[in-house]
Symmetry: C2
Subunit: 369 residues, 2 copies
């Protein structure tokens, strides 16, 4: 408190300094991080475009069995704008056996039971895995056996596995957990994410039911294909981290948002009364008190798009991102940003975003040991 | 993408599950964390009040040489409302020699050169240290030798040292670094913090120059006592983490905010034209481009108090905390929240907030090794 701020002597100081060590893990220095890219849809291709400009990264392989992609140059498939000299292969086993790499960027699906065999193959080839699979973001509760197996296998092979993305992975789980660092006696967490899908990918618009009748939406919600995957994963990461292991009830609801008037987008023409998107919520209740509430609205022309986090604690924290974090761009950025940590950490096993340090993209320190 | 959301089967699920392992470090399980509290001013006492209610914590010792505190019961000195059975000692060496503890909560001052001998003594007694010392939050650039020595000594004794608080430590450094996780090609970071000090501690009001004439403010800014300590520490944490080790220029400015009309608070009566607070800024420049700008205003009756973070990147991120995070309460909460990590991590040496995982307060997992 008695410190002199010493302001005036500091004006115009010229600075150049060595990167400081990150203390938590000792990193390997100097070598480039070698990546293989498995799955070249919108997210997988976006990660390629994000990494290709990073001089610390070296893309060594690519896998996608789709006939429109296999056999072509990765730069072309991923929309980089120039060839990368890496041919997309349909044959995962061969790429994994033939190539040395630190990290596989895995973007093939949302369902953990579907992608589980791929994850096991990747880990068994002694490569760490960062995946956009929503259900992998915090799978311990919903898939305890698969989680245990992935964790075990990754430890055996000395590698790491992480599922991440903007949501789940950031807005509704990591960001409130970070914000809660300034608060004690946290009584509840409420996150609201409102996304205007009108300028987003057709896949997202379809996933939210745009263009369907209400009956078609309900059918899709039951049969699959309609709905966001990840709310429960976020809820469980919050509950587990905040010490709420005993939830009396977890309620999830999904309902259509309908057009108040005829709407037209690049992909859809929606009549009044038809579906423009969805509202999906999950709530965790203890002693009749809602301790966690996650509200997601994704619809064409949604008003006041935003991300809002409200933490009832000491002190309370209310945080808003007007406009909301852009979903696809942020997901590719997060995945690209986590690659250095995944390559260089000494941790092994199944990680979740709460296990990573702030700024996982920072990985250029000197080796310490 | 083909996953079924499976919504309807989840309504009303009852849950009870085991805490999941944090993967990054293996923690010791089951034992309480033992703390010693060194410095019982507003912050130090606040941390005692925050920890005393936590069943995982055990306060074993307290140090404060001030005659109004030494010899009295800690509960009384810290305003807990009941005695804690721990007597505040004036004799740091004796407490450190006599008592086993995991972590010392250290809240004695802002100046690293002043508190450095205390830190060395604490570390040498094989206790980890979490400190409110602002200059310890990222000391590598400004005090490279002291940083190296603390780091070295802490490693030798197998313990950790961390400086933290709401600012520096969170709002202007950790929070923008966290937010940048969703963004690539970050071109600049701009943080604004506006604090209305009218309801805050007299110490803070005095530190910001309230009640002084403009001449008195300038004198205080030169001679010490006026100004916020920590802007440069935050700037260096940002610059170092975001890869901006070559800053052409770092400019810091400090100016008074004056009363537009007569103002009266519990502690001050300020005439029109006299000082109600300060505006302090630090900027980091590369190639004539401002890559980091941190603006802090702290004044009586400041309008629109808030914390705002703007990241120019892909995607851009703009995040606002209307009202701003409450300084003192948040500082005590952050320190209390970091104690579990400081007690149980395996990392050794001088840490900074960027080295900790999100949710450092989460530390109740099963031991894994």
């Amino acid at each position: 408190m008695s410190d002199s701020p010493d302001i005036h002597q500091q004006a115009g100081e010229r600075l150049s300094f060595e990167p400081k060590p990150r203390n938590l893990d000792a990193y390997v220095l100097g070598e480039k991080v070698r990546t293989i890219h498995y799955g070249l849809g919108a997210i997988g291709s976006g990660v390629v475009r994000a990494l290709v400009e990073d001089p610390m990264m070296e893309i060594v392989g690519a896998i996608d069995p789709h006939p429109s992609k296999a056999g072509r140059d990765l730069g072309e498939v991923a929309g980089v704008g120039h060839p990368l000299g890496v041919t997309v292969s349909y044959d995962a086993d061969r790429v994994l056996n033939d190539l040395y790499a630190d990290v596989v960027v895995h973007c093939t699906g949302s369902s953990l039971t579907e992608v589980y065999p791929q994850i096991v193959t990747l880990v068994s080839s002694e490569k760490s895995v960062i995946s956009s699979c929503e259900e992998l973001s915090f799978p311990w509760h919903r898939y305890p056996e698969i989680s245990e197996k992935i964790d075990q296998r990754a430890r055996e092979h000395g590698v790491r596995v992480l599922g991440t993305g903007v949501n789940p992975g950031f807005v509704m789980d990591l960001m409130p957990l970070m914000a809660a660092t300034v608060s004690r006696r946290v009584k509840s967490v409420h996150v609201t994410r409102v996304v205007d899908t009108s300028l987003r990918r057709i896949q997202l618009q379809r996933k939210t039911g745009a263009g369907l009748s209400v009956k078609g939406f309900e059918e899709g919600a039951r049969g699959g294909g309609i709905g966001h995957v990840g709310l429960r994963e976020s809820l469980f990461m919050l509950a587990d981290t905040l010490g709420w292991q005993k939830l009396d009830e977890v309620k999830e609801t999904l309902e259509p948002v309908t057009a108040k008037q005829k709407m037209t987008t690049d992909y859809f023409s929606v009549d009044r009364g038809s579906v423009v998107g969805l509202k999906q919520s999950v709530r965790g209740v203890i002693d009749d008190r809602e301790v966690i509430r996650l509200d997601l609205e994704m619809s064409l022309g949604a008003t006041d798009p935003r991300d809002t986090i409200e933490i009832d604690g000491t002190p309370p924290v209310r945080l808003t991102i007007p406009g909301g974090i852009h979903g696809d761009v942020a997901t590719t950025s997060i995945i690209a940003n986590c690659v250095p940590y995944m390559a260089q950490s000494r941790a092994t096993g199944l990680l979740t975003m709460r296990d990573l340090p702030a700024a996982p993209y920072y990985a250029r320190p000197r080796s310490r040991d």
